[in-house]
Subunit: 209 residues, 2 copies
Amino acid sequence: MNETHDLPAEDQARHAQKMARKKAARDRMMAQKTGEKGLIIVHTGPGKGKSSSGFGMIMRCIAHEMPCAVVQFIKGAWDTGERRMLTTHFADLCQFHAMGEGFTWETQDKSRDIAAAQAGWNKARDLIRDPEIRMVLLDEVNIALRYGYLDAQEVVDFLESEKPPMTHVVLTGRGAPEVLIDSADLVTEMTMIKHPFKAGIKAQAGVEY
Amino acid sequence: MNETHDLPAEDQARHAQKMARKKAARDRMMAQKTGEKGLIIVHTGPGKGKSSSGFGMIMRCIAHEMPCAVVQFIKGAWDTGERRMLTTHFADLCQFHAMGEGFTWETQDKSRDIAAAQAGWNKARDLIRDPEIRMVLLDEVNIALRYGYLDAQEVVDFLESEKPPMTHVVLTGRGAPEVLIDSADLVTEMTMIKHPFKAGIKAQAGVEY
């Protein structure tokens, strides 16, 4: 470890100069970014962090006292940290609706899966239409889109025509359809580099739920 | 949108059969995942969601009443949602230490950057050594590693030798060094598919901070 921070004067000066140039370039770039708008945000890909990052943004909204809402499309009555946190501490700022009935291989009932997805989407539409609500997280909705339980084009058409301009909508889950990615403002793919499930480690509190 | 959920009986039966097979395979797989351990978790890559997902996991820990801690290596006195949330509501369960002084192009002082990174790492070591603390989030530490302000091998050696077995340590930031990725249990790369900064939209409350 670098124990001394007394760098040679010329190294210091070179660094300061380089960083001054970098800051000037960055300031110029950031000065052009003045717009604000409600974003369509997509977290997809097989890696971890899609739902936890959505949940993290919901917590940021709550911290800024922005009313927000969560609709869970897959997780049903599961006692997750996010559910417990939002319903126990922040029910006044954040609505929480668990509309899922579990993964489709758990229900083994396609009609029921479709009905649950449709009910979740109906709830989501009401929440998104409400201009008081500043962010709506549709957790795992991409799974319902991927299985065709919801029509991706209809979801995109609704977001493009009825989402209030300042409302953020976050859609998480693997396999986000192209039509949604094309329409979104901010798309991140979580790529799995290494996962402990492969080493026999189970889902753990705090990390996965 | 699929308005009727009355699927033909043979479609229903085929789906149920397929999902029953999938569930059986999944149950066999999950039955082998019985281990629990404190994980070294890395979020890297240029996409969004690295810090917000770390923050989401911290909130999950709090929901499960697991003591935890955050050390911020870059963000200093910034009034972020995460800072406000943790210091206002959950100071009893989560320590929050903002040790950064801003991005290196803002300080323009390499000695000061190195000193700040070193102070952050000293604080992080104390927190990680405390077995009561179940998760420690080292936010943006990868930036300090990437610039060489901290020695990556020393960080990895410390985690491998002194981290209590059940403690999770989350390291976020672009450009995580290979030696850290090799040592980690769970690595996700956030890949940027689309970002609204490119369309002139600035960082917004709830989304970026």
